[in-house]
Symmetry: C2
Subunit: 433 residues, 2 copies
């Protein structure tokens, strides 16, 4: 074997992930050299703020990250800035300069991935993004490489740790959404503006990437139907539990005939499924495929060191010259095959419907009649005791599988009843069997 | 990109895994070609028995598998014969002929891996064995590539599906070991001679491979201490459950100072750990490492199609020219660093001890005194009610962490008491916290 030259790495962005990445690269020099057959050397660090108090070894430091992309002494640009403006420009420039790129930026890949990946292919450089989905869990590698002999039929997972932390706390301790959200912010799990974690945008970005890898479809940012966790109440988490379910915020991408389903929403899962037991800030992804059957990958979905683990995995693949090459999505971008996505309204599932109704004779019959009139059969119906001082009683209904359009129509008719309060909950149920 | 020539594959052994591999390669021609940038073509099949009723496309068929290794029209030899005699000779010959090798043979890699891998390195060919450990779960790839930026501290897993099926059935249905074993054999989970599944040999083979990848140590077949599941009783599974534990047969490899622990044995795991909930023929592996923290991979540990999924993953890595190259164990064989393994007797853990004793005043005090005299403190002690018609009462003790030598010595002293029956159970407890 010929002696290989060191791989020269430029790190752009020195937040928690950037610092953790630098720390791994600098503290494990000899181990990484043994594993790669060459040295990994951080030659340039790009950071807007002054970080002269940090030790980056002999690395050059630039305030303008574009200088890193233009540096002839950099082979790999690691983009850890986030966002889709400067990061987009940086990645584009790096590829144009013939550099490999490693990024943890899910929004960038989900939004601009088709163009950037095509550009990387044309330039013969690697564009790697293991850290963009599910932090330290090697789900990109698993889909692209481990399952490469499979036809994947479904990807379903807890892919937003903040959301899972909030739901877990609410479920285990009966706490209110706002209350847990504040704690998540003070613990650093949620951003100052937590909108993307809460409304499903972050999970949708990740799902777009997973679906592209799983099904060979182009990245399409607007494909997933999206519902957040902001309207989930401790009451519904309790009822779900009593029925043998847990509520998780899932991203689901599933083959369905010649089309695919792509959706992000709170979901009742039978407690017997392992996915239902994944609590706190953990992420978990279930993969179903024709040969392997079902795989479940569980691990930290965020955090500096865990995310840096995936960043380093990409860097090491490049150093070993066994990176994804011209196939970061499994097949070349030009061969991706756009498949139509089934609209939310048409996607069938069982449903959890919780109502608060004034308890008068005949109301139950009125409600069930509205469902029956639309061909919706009821799998179970429980009338709960009224809470003390409350005149309304909660009713919890599990339906058989029907499309969203049908249940929405029925719910509209039910809410029109005088005795039914408007604060209902309607949540999809997935048995995953 | 230049047009690449097809990768020509020779399959040796056409049992369930071989047939499933051929089926994937022949049924997914165009998908695999898109994923690899070249065609995958089965050009030669080696099978001792006459399989003229099977369709192998245009593949040559040979009764002597060595003909496949010598065939100039074969680039990759896939060894699916099993055993360590013919398979060993075949893999050696294939490497000497300059062919890449893919194998699912854990015994072969665990026993002869150091020599075969060194030979493959010297010949510049890939020797891949994803399918050798945990069937369809990509644990080899995860350790070698996804965690390549980490220092791994522990690997612990359910890596024998037959054993896990037996323990699950015993635990959930109170069935006896022999009874479930017969069923496992009739279901095809266990071999006609199930010794290796039952006594821990199969799990030890896999653990040897995992430890080598995790810690960069040479494959050493005799390193793991080994205890099987043949003496586990439904009674102990019940008591464990009542105490909040599940009993799983685990392979554990753990860094401990400058040495490592390597052991295969039934283990009490707190029911709150996800590993405790992995039931039936499933496998699951927990990986702990400095950057990523904890990962759990769950999936099918056996079965033709699931194992073929891993075989195909290796073949596709080779076709994409991103295989493990000269580093199938993460680092070159010459750089593996032999580390001493802590003898079983020295390895500390908490212990579950179940006794049957004649119920007379003072016996409990005699027992606890024997433990106390050796500095073994008791975490909990439960005296169960005697079973109907039984004069003996069961006593269940959980100890604090002590080495095996100490607890063995104490147990010997306890059993010497006239009131204590010889049919005790002594099982390690692992909290994994």
């Amino acid at each position: 074997m010929t002696e290989m030259t060191p791989l020269r790495i430029g790190i752009c962005g020195v937040g928690t992930v950037g610092l953790a990445t630098i720390s791994i690269l600098q503290n494990q020099l000899s181990l990484l050299a043994a594993r790669c057959g060459r040295e990994l050397s951080v030659t340039h660090v790009g950071a807007r703020r002054d970080h002269s108090d940090h030790l980056y070894g002999d690395a050059k430091i630039s305030r303008d990250v574009m200088d890193v992309a233009r540096d002839p002494d950099v082979d790999v640009v690691v983009e850890l800035i986030g966002g889709t403006t400067v990061a987009h420009e940086l990645v584009k420039l790096a590829i144009e300069q013939g550099k490999h790129v490693v990024t943890a930026n899910k929004a960038l890949i989900a939004e601009h991935g088709n163009q950037l990946l095509a550009l990387a292919e044309a330039s013969g450089v690697h564009l790697c993004f293991e850290a963009a989905v599910a932090g330290g869990i090697p789900v990109i590698k698993s889909l692209r490489e481990a399952l490469a002999g499979n036809v994947v039929s479904e990807v379903a997972g807890i892919i937003n740790g903040t959301g899972n932390f909030i739901l877990t706390e609410m479920s285990n301790k009966g706490r209110a959404f706002e209350d847990v959200l504040s704690e998540a912010q003070s613990l650093g799990y949620a951003e100052a503006d937590p909108t993307f974690d809460i409304d499903g945008t972050d999970a949708a970005h990740k799902l777009v990437i997973l679906a592209s890898l799983a099904f060979g479809v182009p990245l399409s940012i607007d494909a997933p139907a999206k519902e957040g966790i902001q309207n989930i109440t401790p009451e519904d988490l309790d009822y779900a539990k009593a029925l043998g379910y847990r509520v998780k915020h899932l991203g689901i991408a599933r083959r369905s005939g010649s089309r695919i389903e792509m959706r992000v929403h709170p979901t009742l899962i039978p407690e017997s499924k392992q996915l239902a037991g994944v609590d706190g800030v953990l992420n978990a992804i279930m993969l179903k495929a024709d040969a392997v059957g079902e795989l479940l990958l569980v691990g930290p979905g965020a955090g500096g060191a865990a995310t840096a683990s995936s960043v380093c995995s990409d860097i090491i693949d490049i150093a070993r010259e066994c990176g994804p090459g011209t196939r970061p999505l499994g097949i070349p971008v030009a061969e991706l095959n756009a498949v139509s996505v089934i609209p939310w309204e048409e996607v069938s599932s069982e449903w959890y419907l919780r109502l608060h109704v004034t308890d008068r004779p005949g109301v139950m019959s009125d409600i069930t009649q509205k469902l029956a009139a639309r061909g919706i059969s009821i799998e179970s119906l429980v009338q709960k005791a009224a809470k003390e001082g409350d005149t309304d009683v909660p009713i919890v209904i599990l339906t058989h599988a029907v499309p969203a359009s049908l249940i929405s129509d029925a719910v509209e008719a039910v809410v029109a009843l005088e005795e039914v309060q408007p604060d209902l909950a309607l949540i999809r149920v997935e048995a995953f069997d």
